[in-house]
């Protein structure tokens, strides 16, 4: 299972090493370009931080939601569920290991 993680910083520590998932990390700027060429089963987008990439991350998330084929599961990562928007699947950070949470979601 291929998981695309959109984040401006390294996300390896959020996953087991080695992870049972095929984790692909991409910056917000390049996320849509990579996604349309090589679609993923799951998209995790960290779009809740301060900085110049903030809008790019939100844009990338919205663009991928619009362009994603049926069946792609898209989650937004963030620090507070109060930020969750209607119709959005939200994973709250901090998480020990994202793999564990994904296992629960898929079970």
């Amino acid at each position: 299972m291929r998981i695309l993680v959109i984040s401006p910083f390294d996300v390896k520590k959020l996953f087991s090493n080695p992870s049972k998932y095929n984790i692909v990390h991409v910056s917000p700027k390049n996320a849509l370009r990579l996604f349309i060429k090589e679609p993923s089963d799951i998209v995790l987008a960290f779009a809740e931080y301060e900085g110049s990439d903030f809008n790019k991350a939100r844009e990338a998330l919205a663009d991928i939601k619009n362009s994603a084929p049926e069946g792609v599961r898209i989650f937004r990562l963030g620090f507070s569920k109060e930020e969750k928007k209607d119709g959005e699947t939200y994973l709250e950070l901090p998480l020990s290991l994202l793999d564990d949470n994904l296992d629960k979601i898929f079970s």
């Binding site: 349309i36 919205a62 663009d63 619009n66 362009s67 049926e70």
Partner: protein, 138 residues
């Protein structure tokens, strides 16, 4: 060979129809819901973009203060023509109300930057399949 196609459509149901048709044809797909997103994606993917299929009536953005009744898609068609990008119009506007489109589209498709000779138009109902086929044949 797979092509990258941008569609601009505000209605979810129509976007889903267009997505299914284009993805099932084996092409890469970009989707925008309004004029600003359409222009942004068109510019960002200009190096790989094969063509655009656009609806006519959809939102611009809050900053433009233009409502959904306005033919913002015509602005996108004009930009495609100016930049020499293949474009097709997929609209459900009926024959009587679509009359106003005929002249601008005729003028635009003869623009010196537009080398494809034709801007395919679907009226009456949104025929994404036909418009994709026509776009690919330009």
């Amino acid at each position: 060979m797979e092509k990258t196609i941008l569609i601009v459509e505000d209605l979810l149901e129509e976007r889903e129809k267009a997505k299914n048709i284009i993805l099932n044809s084996g092409h890469n797909l970009l989707v925008a819901q309004d004029l600003d997103s359409g222009i942004r994606l068109m510019k960002a993917f200009s190096d790989v973009l094969f063509g655009v299929i656009t609806d006519i009536h959809y939102q611009s953005t809050s900053t433009h203060r233009i409502d959904t009744e306005k033919p913002n898609g015509l602005a996108l068609v004009a930009l495609c023509v100016e930049k020499g990008i293949r474009v097709a119009v997929c609209s459900d506007i009926d024959g009587h109300f679509s009359k106003y489109l005929d002249i601008p589209l005729r003028v635009l498709q003869s623009h010196q930057n537009y080398s494809f000779g034709k801007i395919p138009v679907s009226k009456g109902f949104k025929d994404w399949g036909s418009m994709l086929k026509e776009l690919l044949n330009l």
